[in-house]
Subunit: 474 residues, 2 copies
């Protein structure tokens, strides 16, 4: 977390509109070739906003203009802005600037940001960048690049402050004064033992409130939460949300401290993980980090096709059920009228249940062992819902619709509705748990899948009941 982010600027309560104004003014100035004015305005932005203006400039004025804008930035700011661009834009810039400029940017960039950038770039460009670093750096970079995507290792930075156990607070503050500006955070410092194993942490809050002569050993908190270098980022973000950390240490298998992760990076992870969950729940698979508008039509197609074809197959199953009861249907055509109603309430009540369970699982509020409680709760809720909805429905059929054999149609529809809602809620409640059990992402068991599944069951239940009631009748 650079100091810049701690002091990002806009000076307006209404963030969005103030930023829009600045952006349009800068683009206007660029367009009018008033580069000096544009530079002054651009340099007054913080790096987050500057990165967004760069993106807009690239889209509206072309990459040449955008690179002119980018080159106006001072060295340290250009590294910060660069690390926040899309990888397409990063590539375009690397293509346009000199090797020396690139070297400077890479040197100024925070270590974890550099790793993020390198992970997205093509191998040839990565080699070009690595050629500019010392053998020692290159080794460290390669180690970090090798951590699996979405692991704690791929998120961490080695730029933490290390204090020695036999120092005093005064020694520590002198050390921080020296290295503080190059570290990811100064607010939590780390103490290792002789085997480079993590011993504990010391907060800067303690360092500035205790006397200079206090031994560091007295301030070390030894019993701390840490994550393993191969732990999934979801687990890291859970730890942050649960405990409200500013930073968390990352250790390897031998419990040696290899890096730290700071809360600002975790905010991005949380956003990313939530987006993945929500998109999966909406039936979009394999979406990457690209924004909606930056994703091409073919990629959108590819992300959506698998679910649709799967769901189409299961809808065909429902069709077979209907085909099977074709004779009954041609006898009592009015039965078809209530099919959307049953399929609709079934699908929706099932996805209500699955949504709640998927979210509960994601937040750790619901666990495997709660399955019986979930089932019992869903069963009772579905009885209540089924009873009230079908009562309304029955009245409507008898008094408003008045089809032929109204009583029998009404009975069939209402009995089917109660059964369908019960089954849908129980399936919706259990499938996410089952998915988690067998190692599938529970988010896949959301509305699209559940409603397609319950459609089939709704048809089966409905026509079977109808067959029973109407054979009696005939």
């Amino acid at each position: 977390m650079g100091d810049q982010t701690e002091a990002a600027s806009t000076g307006q309560t209404d963030l969005e509109s103030a930023f829009e104004e600045n952006k349009n003014r800068i683009l206007g100035l660029m367009n009018a070739k008033k580069y000096i004015h544009a530079r002054d305005e651009f340099m007054a932005l913080n790096e987050v906003d500057a990165a967004e203006v760069f993106g807009e400039a690239e889209a509206e004025l072309g990459i040449e203009m955008a690179v002119i804008l980018f080159r106006m930035l001072p060295k340290d700011a250009s590294a910060e802005v660069f690390s926040r661009l899309d990888s397409d834009d990063q590539l375009a810039i690397i293509d346009k600037i000199t090797d020396r400029e690139l070297g400077t940017i890479m040197q100024e960039m925070d270590f974890d940001d550099m790793i993020d950038v390198l992970e997205e770039l093509p191998a040839t460009v990565v080699d070009k960048v690595l050629a500019k670093s010392t053998p020692g750096e290159r080794k460290l970079i390669n180690t970090f690049l090798n951590y699996p995507e979405n692991s704690a290792g791929s998120l961490m930075t080695p730029d933490y402050i290390e204090l020695k156990k036999d120092w005093t607070v005064g020694d520590a503050l002198v050390h921080i004064k020296k290295v503080g500006m190059d570290s990811e955070t100064v607010y939590t410092c780390y103490v290792k033992d002789w085997g480079r194993k993590l011993l504990g942490i010391v907060s800067l809050r303690n360092l500035v409130t205790y006397d200079e002569t206090t031994p560091i050993a007295d301030l070390i908190v030894e019993d701390i939460v840490y994550v393993g270098v191969y732990d999934d980022q979801e687990k890291v973000s859970e730890a942050f949300t649960r405990y409200g950390f500013l930073a968390i240490p990352v250790v390897d298998n031998e419990h040696r401290l290899v890096g730290i992760i700071t809360v600002d990076d975790i905010l991005d992870v949380i956003e990313e993980e939530t987006t993945e969950d929500i998109e999966r729940m909406g039936g979009v698979i394999g979406a990457d980090d690209r924004e909606y508008l930056d994703t091409g039509v073919f990629r959108h197609y590819r992300n959506r096709f698998p679910w649709l074809i799967l769901l189409m197959c299961s809808a065909m199953l429902t069709g077979l059920v209907i085909a099977h009861y074709e004779l009954l249907l041609s006898d009592v055509v009015s039965l078809a009228m209530y099919l959307p109603l049953l399929m609709g309430t079934g699908g929706n009540s099932g996805s209500q249940a699955s949504t709640l369970i998927i979210r509960g699982l994601a937040l750790g509020e619901i666990e495997m062992k709660d399955a019986p409680r979930v089932l019992w709760k869903e069963f009772r809720v579905s009885l209540l819902l089924g009873a009230s909805l079908s009562a309304i429905n029955f009245c409507k059929i008898i008094f408003i619709d008045r089809p032929e054999n109204a009583l029998f149609v009404g009975l069939t529809v209402c009995c089917a509705q109660v059964l369908v809602i019960c089954l849908a809620k129980c399936i919706g409640g259990m499938l996410p748990l089952l998915a988690k059990r067998v190692g599938i992402d529970p988010a896949l068991m959301a509305a699209p899948f559940i409603s397609t599944l319950t459609d089939t069951f709704a048809c089966l239940i409905y026509f079977n009941l109808a067959a029973i009631f109407f054979t009696r009748l005939v």
Copy 2:
């Protein structure tokens, strides 16, 4: 953010299982009435875990036992744990402990936590608590309690560190040493002008890296992002995610600094807002902060009924469409067989689009002005999807299903499918934008609503096409 949270403990990489073990051991010891052992184990937990153990103890051993456990905690820890409990548990504790104990807890609690607690308690209990505070405190508490729920004002704390413009770094560090332990954060300090207006911020990182003689005036960052006291918490969390802040200042209408919000509190807000969005997208309305398992059957019923009844009504509309074409359906019963397929792919492809747009809106990636681009993208994606799905479908109808008039049925189904997918994707893409425009939460325009809506359109399109094709045929 107390120092405790910066140094929360478990000392295990596998957070969850380590915690489960501790929890079960403590509950076992309590059950065996080995209170002294239980206390030692309980006191070794950090306050987040302790609060969870309290909740489990209450559920498994009853409130009496849980309160015994709670009373074992030292003063400062008990305040931290108390602030993290459900409001039901807080009420139960207030009921069991003496007024003096309650007074101590309230005194030890962080100001923003106390406001959170008071907001959830019944008015009579709030009065009882307020009676224990000085008139000055009471006035401040009442001001904070009056900020609307989910506003920046309801999240902030007045416990920030204020530095004077004419101080030096040395003066500032002396001041921080004095008040640091009672402040929410020491890592960002605030400077006001003579009219109590926010002038700017100074980071502790700068204070510990610059010389003691440096004037504070040189370190003030004046161009900062802040929020208004009545701004919605969603806006606050957007600012944190966008800029990676540790804390953000909150100002009133006169630009006077009234409090700060720290990142740890925002992690909870993000979780809460995301849960609300996801639940709304799943057709659950009005759910509160309660966890799934803690919510009673009737409340679950109440949260789910409104959507279901609304969706049932629109499903009835679809039924009317079918009823209107009863004659056609009784002529060509095989048409009914493909109804679930059309309704299914329509609903699912519509909700894919709406999911992406809702999430894009929530992240600020998509704005109102992008509507034409969204529509154009969805249109092209839907043509691709419609073409490939209906091609598969056509082959299946002709070569596998072989209904009577296979060619006509196939043409009807496939033309209908392309049209339905196009319409569904465009509706799914546009409705969230439209909702935002008129001030409705876009998350309501998700799967349940979209799929019910497209069901009706699917039926209309299908039967109209069938009528056209089959009147030709007959």
